[in-house]
């Protein structure tokens, strides 16, 4: 597939990184230095030019593209580039990134002439909402309209002995769930019946939303459902998260340092309680009982501030901290510092955009562990060799079928179940094998 990427920033970088092996990629950016960085690392074509210039787009060869991704950090550039690309490349799928939720709404109403609009803010908000839904989880993704959840857990001290330390075939798992992978150190294991989960492992579970909740309770018995959230920073990301969580009926408090911004957000979110404060004033944290919140989300503009505020919040008793990490490198630093979960908006956005690059049969893709593993939602071809096979007879080839979606509802397969033509399967695999797996199915 020929992919044309406009913007070589962090999102562009992540997209190229994930797609460069199987696809033919051209990247357009105004800055040579960024392009050089990319071209030095990956085998791609680069072109110095302006995404808002129709001539530059034409010269760079946008008209042969199958997929055009406009992912600069500026909405206006992406909109214009997306529109020109639509004119130049009539058959290409156009995807644009935006940081303004309003454009997403406009697109849903059919007012924007592009195929898909991906908003960093909305994707980040959804990612955070999924994490909060399963408090013990490090990362969650949903498939098949939310019927199937894929959840990553860290197994820590205090996890139930029903599942930890016993061979998997004897363990008492929640119904409708499967351990897709055990990650021990740098190694990943597609577990068989004799393998055991050990403390310190990171495990990947595929199952129904109820099963995900049940896993959460098994692995972290103390943590209860999150009903009360404090969000530090009411910028675009913070307010998008607040809006989503409010819609889910949670109680949300927002802390915003800018008076003007605080007022604006308070006006647009009547149900949230908004404070005009820095969030790093111990008196304030104490007086407003911030430590009693079930979870605190740090969505300020500056990673360093997020880290400091999160540490302070932990000192004040917040048990569950989630932080936005604007820079990819911050994710590790945050984890090291004890922040429970970090979300990189650009990474989340890239992940969302990458989904469009897959086989048309593929509905959805999730990336785990810094792009090492993929979860693919793919429809079975009529000619697939797997049709009619029982699950227990299937060879293990570095991939695992976590769930099957048949006639719109999810089935969590057992040993005797058989695959049928037209089934959608949710497969967990190493990223390097993803293409092979999709072809095989």
């Amino acid at each position: 597939m020929k992919i044309f990427v406009i913007g070589a920033g962090q999102v562009g970088f992540a997209i190229v990184e994930a797609l460069h092996e199987e696809h033919d990629i051209t990247v357009l950016d105004t800055e040579t230095s960024r392009l050089a960085g990319l071209a030095g690392r990956y085998d791609i074509a680069t072109f110095e030019g302006d995404g808002t210039s129709r001539r530059d787009l034409a010269t760079a060869g946008v008209k042969d593209a199958d997929l055009v991704i406009a992912c600069t950090s500026r909405d206006e550039v992406n909109l214009v580039a997306g529109m020109f690309a639509r004119r130049e490349a009539k058959h290409a799928t156009t995807v644009i990134r935006t940081s303004n939720v309003e454009y997403v709404e406009l697109w849903r109403e059919g007012q924007l002439d592009v195929d898909f609009v991906v908003s960093s803010e909305l994707e980040t908000a959804h990612a955070i909402s999924r994490i909060i839904g399963v408090p013990a989880a490090r990362q969650t993704d949903v498939f098949a309209e939310g019927q199937v959840q894929l959840v990553e857990f860290d197994v820590e001290e205090g996890a139930s002995h029903e599942v930890v330390g016993v061979p998997l075939r004897e363990a008492q798992f929640p119904r409708d769930s499967k351990v897709a992978a055990i990650i021990r150190g740098t190694e990943m294991l597609l577990p068989g019946g004799d393998d055991r989960i050990a403390t310190g492992d990171r495990i990947v579970v595929i199952g129904s939303p109820e099963a995900a909740q049940a896993w959460s309770t098994l692995l972290a018995p103390g943590e209860s459902a999150v009903r009360d959230v404090v969000i530090f920073g009411a910028g675009r990301v913070g307010s998008a998260i607040a809006r989503l969580l409010l819609e889910q009926g949670m109680s949300v408090r927002l802390i915003e340092a800018s008076r003007e911004r605080a007022r604006l957000v308070a006006e647009s979110l009547p149900k949230a309680r908004v404070y005009n404060a820095t969030g790093t004033d111990p008196d304030f944290l104490e007086r407003e009982r911030i430590g009693h919140a079930h979870a605190a989300i740090f969505a300020m503009r500056d990673d360093a501030k997020n880290l400091y505020a999160a540490s302070l919040a932990e000192v004040h008793g917040v048990k569950f901290t989630i932080s936005i990490a604007h820079e990819a490198v911050s994710v590790e630093a945050f984890e090291h510092a004890g922040i429970d979960v970090s979300v990189n908006p650009r990474g989340v956005t890239a992940e969302e955009i990458i989904r469009f690059a897959h086989d048309p049969r593929t509905k959805q893709v999730a990336l785990l562990e810094g792009n090492r593993y993929e979860v693919i939602d793919v429809t079975l071809r009529d000619t697939s060799e797997y049709i009619g096979k029982r699950f227990q007879d299937m060879p293990i080839r570095g991939a695992l079928i976590g769930a099957v979606v048949r006639n719109g509802s999810a089935i969590f397969p057992h040993r005797d179940d058989v695959l049928e033509a037209g089934d959608r399967v949710i497969v967990f695999t190493e990223a390097a094998d993803a293409d092979r797996v999709v072809k095989a199915l």
């Binding site: 008076r259 007022r263 308070a266 006006e267 009547p270 908004v274 404070y275 005009n276 407003e288």
Partner: protein, 498 residues
């Protein structure tokens, strides 16, 4: 250097007076019809129109444009002159009841400001045309003289917003989104339409024989007293002269008169009943009416003053009349027990809705003050909390909130000062006024309600008061109608000097 273009303001006042004088044609026609003396009205009209014309001509060469500053002066001057215009026929032919200049001006101001406070103990002594003139002044003043002018005169299109906002009752909370001229026109169309409906309803009660005393004359007179929430009546015992059916209709139209006209327009013309029903001010307004009616009805019943339908009717009529600052009555509430009197006294401070013909503080300001207080209490506990104050889902800007708080302080201040003057003056001239009567008279005048308590009660009059008290009440009525601030700014140095 003078910051106000006085000739421009005077020029516009001249224009307004020129047209206002035409209002005298209506009582002239009535006088001719009833075979009464019509010359007092013609003289009044001639003086007003002629004077206005001369003023307009004298200033036309030097006049600039009427801006925001001039608008304050125009509105105040117009209203002072309008009251004088109304007073001319009283002065010329008012006889014993109204002939004294202070009394005539009092009655004129009371009419135009739709207060309904009177120095005429028995209105039945007035001639038919004079009584109708009294009613008619209320009707013109109801929605506003300047508002009418804006609707009709193309010249006032420029700078009209400030004029309209100075005259239209209630704080400006994003309701004047339409063009000024459209708003003014719409208000008057609705006002005239409602008045016509009321006249028709009342008159048909007369024609059908349900209410034999309700002639066409009385129907018109009482529609003119009700729709602008005025309160004058041609009858000695006010609305009690008429059948219960008429009283119910009058009370219902008082409530309509006290509702927000722009909201009524949405309900009736644009057919958006959903938005109207959810309106916070309307809800509070109706809730207050319901609670107060219940409270009064229970008291009337338990004291044996009235029972059954009569108790409910008396309670409802008085509540509707006082809360909308009309002041027409169907019972002498002055003889009711103390709690009932205090209920009525409290209602004098409520007022109708913004954008209505009612006076006093207005429901919306009470609503907003309640919200401001709630926020203050929250911020006492959490100083950092940001709580925009909302009305019907939209947040209200801080300047408007400050203006509301300032208005209420000025209102209470003016009321207290007025009460003081009336009490002291009454002590000096030996008028028979109790403590509640003095503060009631001040509240009633400032709120444009009309009747007070004791001798100044609904079946009494303000005739026993001294001239100083009457002058104080004239000032209070004037302040109350223009909602204090546009008048008070004229007294500041900042207004006149750069």
């Amino acid at each position: 250097m003078l910051a106000v273009d006085v000739p421009a303001a005077a020029n516009m006042v001249g224009t307004l007076c020129k047209y206002l004088g035409l209002a005298a044609l209506f009582p002239t026609a009535v006088a001719i019809g009833y075979g009464e003396a019509f010359w007092p009205f013609l003289v009044a009209g001639a003086i007003t129109s002629g004077g206005g014309y001369v003023l307009e001509r004298l200033t036309s060469s030097s006049a600039g444009r009427v801006g925001v500053r001039e608008a304050f002066l125009v509105v105040s001057a117009t209203w002072l002159l309008a009251a004088a215009f109304a007073a001319v026929p009283y002065l010329l032919a008012g006889g014993e009841a109204l002939g004294h200049p202070v009394d005539a001006y009092f009655e004129g101001m009371s009419g135009f400001t739709t207060t309904g406070a009177t120095v005429v103990t028995d209105p039945e002594v007035l001639s038919s045309s004079m009584a109708m003139w009294r009613q008619f002044t209320q009707w013109i003043g109801g929605i506003g003289i300047v508002v009418l002018a804006i609707a009709v005169l193309p010249r006032l299109r420029v700078g009209g917003r400030q004029l309209l906002e100075s005259e239209l009752p209630g704080p400006e909370i994003a309701q004047l989104s339409e063009r000024i001229r459209e708003t003014a026109r719409l208000l008057w169309v609705l006002y005239v339409g409602l008045t016509a409906v009321l006249i028709l309803l009342l008159a048909s009660l007369g024609w059908l024989g349900i209410d034999e005393r309700m002639t066409l004359y009385e129907a018109v007179a009482h529609a003119f007293g009700t729709m602008p929430t005025g309160g004058f009546s041609t009858q000695l015992d006010s609305a009690a002269s008429f059948a219960p059916a008429s009283q119910w209709i009058l009370a219902a139209f008082m409530l309509i008169g006290g509702a927000n006209y722009l909201l009524l327009y949405r309900a009736f013309v644009r057919r958006q009943p959903g938005r109207v029903i959810r309106d916070e001010e309307l809800r509070l307004y109706l809730a207050l009416v319901a609670v107060a009616t219940l409270a009064l009805a229970v008291q009337l019943g338990s004291y044996g003053i009235a029972d059954g339908e009569e108790a409910v009717r008396q309670a409802f009529f008085q509540v509707a009349s006082i809360i909308t600052t009309t002041g027409m009555v169907n019972a002498d509430y002055a003889v009711w027990p103390a709690v009932a009197l205090l209920t009525i006294f409290a209602l004098m401070f409520v007022g109708g809705s913004a954008g209505s013909t009612a006076g006093s503080i207005k429901v919306i300001r009470h609503l907003m003050i309640g919200k401001i207080l709630r926020r203050e209490l929250s911020q006492t506990v959490s100083p950092e909390v940001v709580m925009p104050i909302r009305l019907n889902g939209t947040s209200v800007d801080e300047r408007t909130l400050r203006a509301i708080a300032a208005f209420i302080l000025l209102y209470v201040g003016a009321w207290a000062l007025g009460a003081g003057v009336i009490a002291i003056d009454s002590a000096i001239v030996g008028a028979d006024l109790g403590p509640l009567d003095a503060i009631g008279a001040s509240a009633s005048a400032l709120g444009n309600v009309g009747p007070g308590f004791g001798v100044t009660g609904p079946y009494g009059s303000y005739a026993p008061l001294g001239d100083v008290s009457k002058l104080a009440m004239i000032v209070l009525m004037f302040l109350g109608r223009l909602e204090i601030v546009p008048v008070i700014v004229l007294l500041t140095r900042h207004y006149w000097r750069l």
